[in-house]
Symmetry: C2
Subunit: 528 residues, 2 copies
Amino acid sequence: MSLHGKNFIGYSLSANGTDETIAVDPTTGQNLETAFIEATSEEINSACNLAAKAFDSFRNTSSKERAAFLRKIAENVVNLGDELIQRAVAETGLPEGRITGERGRTCGQLTMFADLIEEGSWVNARIDTAIPDRQPLPKPDIRYMERAIGPVAVFGASNFPLAFSTAGGDTASAIAAGCPVVLKAHPAHPGTAELVAHAAVSAAKECGMPEGTISMIHGKSHLTGQALVKHPAIKAVGFTGSIPGGRAIFDTAASRPEPIPVYAEMGSSNPVFLLPETIKKNEEALVAGLTGSICLGAGQFCTNPGMLVVQASPEVNSFIQKLAESIKNAPAGTMVHSSIKDGYSKELSAKLAVDGVTLLGKSDATTENDATAAQPAVFSASAETFLNNDELNKEVFGPCTFIVICNNKEQILEVVEHLEGHLTSSIHGEDEELIQFADVISAVEKKVGRLIINQYPTGVEVCSSMLHGGPYPASTDSRTTSVGTAAINRYARPVSYQNFPQALLPDEIKDGNPLEIWRLMNGKMGQE
Amino acid sequence: MSLHGKNFIGYSLSANGTDETIAVDPTTGQNLETAFIEATSEEINSACNLAAKAFDSFRNTSSKERAAFLRKIAENVVNLGDELIQRAVAETGLPEGRITGERGRTCGQLTMFADLIEEGSWVNARIDTAIPDRQPLPKPDIRYMERAIGPVAVFGASNFPLAFSTAGGDTASAIAAGCPVVLKAHPAHPGTAELVAHAAVSAAKECGMPEGTISMIHGKSHLTGQALVKHPAIKAVGFTGSIPGGRAIFDTAASRPEPIPVYAEMGSSNPVFLLPETIKKNEEALVAGLTGSICLGAGQFCTNPGMLVVQASPEVNSFIQKLAESIKNAPAGTMVHSSIKDGYSKELSAKLAVDGVTLLGKSDATTENDATAAQPAVFSASAETFLNNDELNKEVFGPCTFIVICNNKEQILEVVEHLEGHLTSSIHGEDEELIQFADVISAVEKKVGRLIINQYPTGVEVCSSMLHGGPYPASTDSRTTSVGTAAINRYARPVSYQNFPQALLPDEIKDGNPLEIWRLMNGKMGQE
């Protein structure tokens, strides 16, 4: 299949614009084939209007129909075969094994949401039946369930060309909920986006979904994204990327005549607390584990451990020295795009320029292409320096970590209170010292979406108990997750139905529970 | 108990400011006793900092402890006895029966949330246990539950001095979730607010809750509210009031360095669709029912039916004439404050000034005090006029309704698509015509939080299936409700716990399910 570079506006391909994006292989710096034509404002408008029209019937499709559609997308993505894998590798510089794994995860997510909606209890059905003779007033029959929120705009992420892009988690959960999706492809991997969009749009056609259920536009200008977020048909936004990018989208959405929710997953340093005893006992394993987690995927995971918090001691000095050695000897990674590598260099330099910050070690390894090569690094400062320099509270996106050295537990608590929001925080400690540091763990909980004991933050399990999000700036909405089954609730809102005849009620809240879902019936949970 | 007019800053009374509010009896126009001293920025700051400090222990209190605290507030409110009833009647002009009923509802809400958290399943617990030998990677143990979001700012509402004010729904749900609350009293009923704050703060002391769990400040300047919403300790806001007021708070919260959720319940005209057959058959009952619902509480209910949509016919003409007669003969109501009456007059005049709008009837009844007397009114226009004048899509807050006359069903659908968000919409129809108009009902669903068949929107049942909210501008967050048990989720966010030792887990997600709550365990719902 040769790439066409056009926008998917409902069931049409369209390329009325003149601006274009050319993808670059970050491993070689060479341009890749096909120019991708950026969407015009008319094309964006058409995609959104088609989505609004599609919403009227798509939101009333049955869960079975939407589940079949999700499974068909997964099937079509797999059927893209090696062409998808090779294009994604070429556009991102990520190894083939990683891309193949990410394809598996992406299809797993589509299937997981299909299973979730087929089971059906996610709608949080609640029924309170009438008591006509209640005094002083009759009690009406009221029934409640989650319904699709409306057309959703989803922005592809640079660091996950499949799992957080065209048919990624946001798209899967929005479709599962009954929301049409207008995608914006990430300009770093437009060819991957086109291939997957073709798979998804074909699936929509094959499953008889209304035109406009899925559209995808190209555009590297921030104006493309702004136009999409401003469109009155769009009722929610999913985004994974940088803080400035996410905040700009959030601000645009908040200043609309009708503000809409924005689920932007943005920056996180994922602070790791290393308690004294465990450093003594497990020095070698910690050095190896942290080096692996820091360097994984060229440090481009949102759960990359970018900050370590330790309490000063001779053992800690030895640990720090060994970690610095390990990082010095780590290989360089290829970042997805030269602009991301430029960001890494700039952010790292800004930290090193702060008075009191020491560079402990930096790899001098190289790759084929300097423009995208990221050398792992480790730097440190005292807690005082951290507390007095807001610059040090900002994430560096890349394979490096910042060690904050505290004098005692009180200072660790001060560091915790000073943290912004993060996706995760890990605490490494022996059983007894974890209990001793329970107050630290409790304080950290206020700042994060996921707390981890004695494991590394990279590797986000896709399951029903995952919260991938957290207080700002980890995300713009700490009440929701971008990974796992709970993500479906981002794209839904509850509706109450009072005194409805059975024929007009959705099956989920009909008498007799035809779908056999879990429901709260007059205050009692059950499947009756 | 004589009123002191001071702010409740944690467990201290404070009145360092110089600006003051005097309450007015809207029935007589006379000033009421006691000057209420507006909070200074230092006092606001202290209240918020105390709330942040209280949060550290309050969020970790057990559900049993918080339930006891909620019940104690209810007990103390009841123990205020007739003094509370008389002051609330004097400050609002609402009849004693209504205030007594509202006190019952307020205490019922406090008790309902106590029951809800004692039962405990609201936390949405999800557990996925480890599979250490999973290939290619081990599966970690992850557990998920809702946790308190942080200190909450709650704004008292003009129209519900008890149920949506100091110890109202937002306060009850925030406390239930484990969030300290900083209240801003509504300047129309500061004495009622003081009495209830005294009851609530005393309950906090009696139950051993940390200082700062509840504070209450006075202030009629919008700067007071802005300062509260901007304070970094505040993590969510509850508000019930006008669109400009709610939007200003939303904008302030969205432009903070760390944006926070705002749950503002604002305007709604609660469109009522009257289908042809039912108008023929039930003319008299509809005229009586609608007149009652329109005039209830001087039209100050947020669910007041401010818009009726009908299809032109001879029967409809007769119905309209009879409704106009009925409204003409309705008594005037006393609004809570002269500024609210001024708003009613202004908003009504703006509608009547639109070309094509006809005043069909207006009561000329009077009350003791012209400054707060609201005369019921009814006016109409064609669907064309409605569709072409955005002014007519705006709520009039008061005892009036606007009849939109359509030529046919297609025009009804156009009217529906043109609607903004509303709290409710009612459809009155005979069984068969409800099925014929199923497409209209489905289209209306996109615009509202609660759909009602053959009942009136006023009278909001407090239960687990109630969604009191809706798309903007009915509320700023259509994903949540301000009434009913689901309101607790406004003040919570999920946290994931990975690989945690049992001793450090909250009871809700420990092995063996010590609290016997409903949990999703490896994808299966149960109480194991």
